[in-house]
């Protein structure tokens, strides 16, 4: 469906650069160049800036430790989206959590909303148990495709909270209207909760309900932060450089609008 929409909005003509995509192209090309630069630095052993401490990611170990001590399971969900940047970030965290759970011999329940995510999540968890040397402890019934319907999924996960009483609930991905319902149900079940979301209309629900929240871009830094891989960390640095460039443009626009009364010139330039 997305691709069909893409086809409809494709510019007419023969093999020319789509002018309305100029700044998007510049942004992505800059990111590619910066990422390659950072990869080269990492390969050459040159210093890469560290990622600041992210409390929500530090708390994953605490959540797993708590579940292990209590002898209760943990619940993990990579969110409601299909394959996309948020889902890949969620699956990266799943990989880390599954390895920890396998090492601690803690039961891990993974619920997915999208059927295409289920086999990927199952493979990640299975591999984690293999790497931990405990393939016998892997239970495919703990990796559950629940329902594609948003609130059927929500109801089913609420049921899991009530019946199986997990000690920790990790909701790492993209969340919509079910965010508060699930987080509140988890809080009522006594879970230590770590939430991550990029949906600005739902983040505040996680902030007030979860013990720790990854806000926006923190989700995308998770895999680099957890793996401590210099190449992945380099990509986060590249992302921050672009963010600073965009921030400078925002400041210039603000100054222009304040001093001259309009930043239309800058807006027109960026709307090329």
């Amino acid at each position: 469906m997305t691709l069909t929409l893409l086809a409809e909005e494709a510019p007419k003509g023969i093999l020319f650069f789509a002018p309305e995509m100029f700044w998007d192209f510049i942004l992505i090309a800059s990111l590619f160049v910066l990422v390659f630069w950072m990869i080269q630095r990492a390969r050459a052993g040159l210093p890469i800036p560290q990622i600041r401490r992210i409390a929500g990611l530090e708390a994953i170990d605490e959540a797993l430790g708590r579940a292990t001590e209590m002898g209760k399971p943990i619940h993990f969900s990579p969110g409601m989206s299909t394959f996309g940047s948020e889902m890949y970030a969620g699956l990266a965290v799943l990989s880390y959590v599954a390895k920890m759970a396998a090492q601690y011999d803690t039961k891990m329940i993974v619920t997915t909303r999208r059927p295409q995510i289920h086999p990927v999540a199952a493979e990640i968890v299975k591999q984690a148990y293999l790497e931990a040397g405990r393939p016998d402890a892997y239970n495919p019934d703990d990796i559950r495709f629940v329902s594609e319907w948003q609130f059927s999924y929500t109801a089913a996960v609420m049921g899991i909270f009530q019946r199986e009483q997990p000690a920790a609930n990790l909701m790492i991905g993209y969340w919509m209207a079910e965010a508060l319902v699930l987080a509140e149900a988890g809080a009522q079940a006594g879970c230590i909760q770590i939430g991550a979301n990029t949906n600005i209309f739902q983040i505040h629900f996680f902030i007030v309900t979860c013990d720790y929240t990854l806000i926006g871009e923190e989700l995308f830094a998770a895999s680099a932060y957890l793996s401590k891989d210099p190449m992945l960390t380099g990509t986060v640095v590249a992302q921050d450089i672009v963010k600073m460039a965009v921030g400078i443009l925002v400041v210039i626009g603000t100054i222009l609008a304040t001093v001259t009364g309009s930043a239309q010139g800058l807006i027109d330039f960026l709307s090329l």
Binding site: T4, A7, A10, G13, L15, F16, F17, M21, L31, V35, G84, S85, Y88, L91, S95, Y96, K99, R114, P115, Q116, H118, P119, V120, E123, I124, Q127, A128, E131, P140, D141, I143, F145, F151, S152, G159, A177, L180, V181, E184, Q188, T198, I200, F205, I207, V208, T209, G216, L219, F220, A221, S223, S227, M231, L232, T235, A238, Q239, K243, V246, G247
Partner: protein, 207 residues
Amino acid sequence: MRRQLPLLLVAITAFFVMAMKFFNFGEVGAAAIQEADIWIQVTYEFAFLLGAINFTRLHYGNVARKRPKWVYSVVALIAMVLTCIITLVDGVNGEIAMFLYENVAVRIDGAIYALLGFYVCSAAYRSFKLKNLEAGILLVSAVLLMLAQAPIGDAIFPGISKVGEWILNVPNSAGMRGIRLGAGIGAYAASIRVILGLERSWTGSGS
């Protein structure tokens, strides 16, 4: 190869979509996009079958082993099988299928959604405790906004609706846009990590 193939497929697909977005390949490009869309639909249907198998195996196991609350699994299995049969016999838009959809599925969905109203109250009760500076700011902003939105607010404190409007339009919008900006650029960077094969944990092999 088992790990490399998915990475290769993702990279090829991503560069294909980017090329289609940034360049115009005329009718050939449009046809290629539509063909790729069909492929996505087909793989999606196969994935759905895997999901249905997992769902059936899990709930059948619950019933067969008489796990706690196994009765709910019976209900889930009956609902799935009945819906499949009715939809196959009656058609997706058939009278019985539509009746079940509109009077059972949509109603239950609405009921779960309605829980939001209650959970907002319980979440607010728990979070609006003055435990630190951030919670204090949240509490003060929330009280101001609630008063600003209610007709009684202006009656008690004239002009409070303007304060509420300012909170919504200035600090709130600034914060939201900042998060959106960071998340947007972060999403680009995360996608590049996946396209370049730097992020491999989703293949089960770790980064």
